[in-house]
């Protein structure tokens, strides 16, 4: 279908973070391509659309809560601008809980 441009990205969840998102580990998203998508915007979109369980276990204020790592294309988001990173087509964004057990 022609028409509205889409920004396709892949969201992944691991090590327990998926439990907050309907227990789905991998999702392909087609976001509205007319707007600019930063990670900050993506988090708001996730909160509104796919965060099914206790949001305080995923978000704290405008960012992800301590203990969840964000990896963009397998690189720590801290190296890429964190909340301000602008999503590119086919980006892979992974949210992973930190494990403490043994």
């Amino acid at each position: 279908m022609m028409g509205t441009p889409e920004l396709k990205i892949i969201l992944e969840f691991g090590a327990g973070a998926e439990l907050l998102f309907g227990n789905i580990k991998r999702r392909q998203l087609a976001l509205d391509g007319n707007q600019k998508w930063t990670i900050a915007n993506l988090l708001k979109w996730m909160h509104a659309n796919i965060l099914t369980e206790r949001p305080e276990l995923f978000l704290q204020g405008d960012t992800v809560r301590p203990g969840i790592l964000v990896l963009i294309n397998d690189t720590d988001w801290e190296l890429l601008g964190e909340l301000d990173y602008e999503l590119q087509p086919n980006d892979n964004v992974l949210f992973i809980s930190t494990l403490h057990g043994g």
């Binding site: 691991g14 090590a15 327990g16 973070a17 439990l19 907050l20 580990k25 305080e56 276990l57 704290q60 809560r65 301590p66 203990g67 969840i68 790592l69 990896l71 397998d74 690189t75 720590d76 801290e78 190296l79 992974l94 992973i96 809980s97 930190t98 494990l99 403490h100 057990g101 043994g102």
Partner: protein, 283 residues
């Protein structure tokens, strides 16, 4: 206190022959292992295989620290303990199993809780520390202490069918606080008692902790510092991800550290340092 070994004996050569012949290992690598001392914190699902492969490989001195006693619910993953040693301290039980495997290994047991008052004293005697613990306060404690003592910390963790592995406080790599400056809310932390864990998953991560420790000691390959290995046992896949370097404003490992002595990590994390005592928590 003892003088370093400068030669392998006949038994060493027979025992380690299949490892000695590895490229960039050789007699010098084996001597480095023989002269090394490694502290294993936690003799549970991760510590058992890690200790097993370090002892087998010829690590000369192992320290084992665990406050806990062997119980039945350990056996499915803590493969150094046995029915006959139920109730014994885990460190002592592991020591018996390890000496059967390699009687040449010098093993020292610390059967008590590691905490701020004893950590520096205990850790000082070792070259490399393995975090095989099961709780968050101990993870921060070990990281801070290893930064202060400049010792590499091989950190493994596991829960359910997931595992994670990295090496902190090594080269330009980050410390635990660089990655996690703020602890998670206690209600977001699940321990293995509550969440369960598969022994083959702790076994995989624990064996790789031994591998990274051997690489650090011998100077082999690329140590997993500044990188995090993420294992999803359910799909049988791994991801190798690039994590940040030292955080310039890290409270502990930066050039101007704010924290220069160990703190109270149970208060910092808002939770106990014993797996058992934590209230039931989800995720």
């Amino acid at each position: 206190g003892e003088s370093a070994h400068t030669k392998l004996n006949k038994d060493d050569v027979a025992r380690y022959s299949r490892q000695l012949i590895l490229p960039s290992f050789g007699v010098q690598g084996q001597l480095k292992l023989k002269n090394s001392s490694v502290l294993i914190v936690g003799l549970g699902g991760l510590g058992c295989p890690a200790a097993q492969y370090l002892a087998a490989a010829g690590c000369g001195n192992l320290g084992l620290i665990d406050y806990d006693d062997v119980e039945r619910s350990n056996f499915h993953r803590q493969i150094l303990h046995s029915e006959a040693r139920c109730g014994m301290s885990k460190a002592e039980s592991a020591r018996i199993a390890l000496l059967e495997l390699n009687p040449n290994c010098e093993i020292r047991c610390h059967s008590r809780l590691l905490y701020s008052q004893n950590a520096m004293h205990i850790l000082r005697g070792y070259d490399v520390v393995l975090d095989c613990s099961d709780n968050l306060p101990t993870r921060y404690l070990l990281s801070d202490a290893c930064v202060m003592l400049r010792k590499p910390l091989v950190s493994g963790s596991a829960l359910k069918m997931d595992g994670q592995l990295t090496v902190y406080s090594y080269g330009n790599g980050p410390c635990y606080r660089c990655i996690y400056p703020v602890p998670p809310p206690p209600e977001a932390v699940t321990n293995c008692g509550d969440g369960g864990v598969l022994g083959a998953v702790t076994g995989t991560i624990g064996a790789m902790q031994a591998l990274e420790a051997i690489k650090v000691i011998v100077g082999l390959g690329d140590v997993l510092a500044g990188r995090l290995l993420i294992f999803d046992g359910s799909s049988g896949t791994f991801r190798n991800v690039r994590i940040r370097s030292k955080r310039p404003n890290c409270h502990v490992c930066s050039a101007q550290p704010i924290i220069t002595e160990l703190i109270d990590y149970e208060i910092f994390c808002g939770m106990h340092a014993t797996d058992k005592n934590n209230p039931m928590q989800m995720l």
